[in-house]
């Protein structure tokens, strides 16, 4: 276990945090820096859900190769999320369909949600942070 697991705000409160990943993995820094917040939130023992929607679904695509654009490839981090007890990964079916993607195109196991199911999941959350 890393020392990040020792984080504690002292309150013992556990809230439901949803991270809404809406942007392509590269082109802007949101996906990379957003992932940092996800890991820290898990280290605070909060109830973390990750949603990939809009171009955010591209973050989980197989075969990402960043050599040509000379930036860091952080896609391996998504496969390591389980080690941080982050197991609730959702993608939105509408976004997948619009981009011609299926679960077989993704590097991790996800739950595919309809718009209604996504709406219900969002309503259950205490905190929604969008990147």
């Amino acid at each position: 276990m890393s020392d990040m697991d020792m984080e504690d705000d002292g309150s013992g409160i556990v809230k439901k945090f949803m991270f809404l990943n809406r942007k392509a993995p590269h082109g802007t820094v949101y996906a990379l820096e957003g992932l940092e917040v996800v890991l820290i939130t898990a280290a605070f023992d909060q109830d973390v859900s990750l949603v990939f929607t809009d171009d955010g679904v591209y973050q989980l695509m197989k075969g990402i190769d960043t050599k040509g654009i000379e930036v860091k490839d952080f896609s391996k981090t998504y496969r390591a999320l389980e080690g941080y007890d982050i197991e609730k990964l959702y993608v939105d079916k509408t976004s997948m369909d619009a981009r011609g993607l299926t679960e077989e195109d993704l590097i991790v196991d996800v739950t595919v949600l309809s718009d209604d199911e996504m709406k219900n999941l969002m309503e259950e959350q205490d905190v929604v942070i969008s990147f």
Partner: protein, 119 residues
């Protein structure tokens, strides 16, 4: 109500910091509390005192500093995002401090609402 505010964009290029400031000021005027504002992504660029906008424009950073002084707001700049962009302790405007992402997570845990400003 206690509001935490997250600012994800730099000053002038984007309205996020202006909107966050106006939201914070108005919330306080209405009797709410804004104990902390967290600056992430290019939002860390709001914290530098090196900026010199033209006289006839608002000074985004100075406005945050003033609001923080008047109402005891904790202006926190993410250390990793700051280092990446060349923001250092010695460049900070009054009221800003550099700390970790844990300060952002704490706002989500402890406050009634966390409001994000950015794209």
């Amino acid at each position: 109500m206690q509001f935490g505010i997250l600012v994800n964009e730099g000053p002038y290029n984007h309205q996020a910091s202006d909107s966050a400031y106006l939201f914070a000021r108005t919330a306080i005027e209405k009797g709410h509390k804004v104990p902390r504002v967290f600056f992430y992504h290019d939002g860390v660029n709001n914290s530098t005192r090196m900026g010199e906008p033209p006289q006839d424009d608002r000074n985004v950073t100075a406005r945050w500093s003033k609001l923080a002084e008047e109402h005891g707001i904790d202006l926190v700049v993410c250390v990793a995002a700051a280092l990446r962009r060349g923001i250092k302790d010695e460049l900070l405007a009054p009221g800003f401090r550099i700390s970790g992402l844990g300060q952002l997570v704490e706002m989500g845990i402890q406050y009634d609402r966390l409001v994000t400003f950015g794209d």
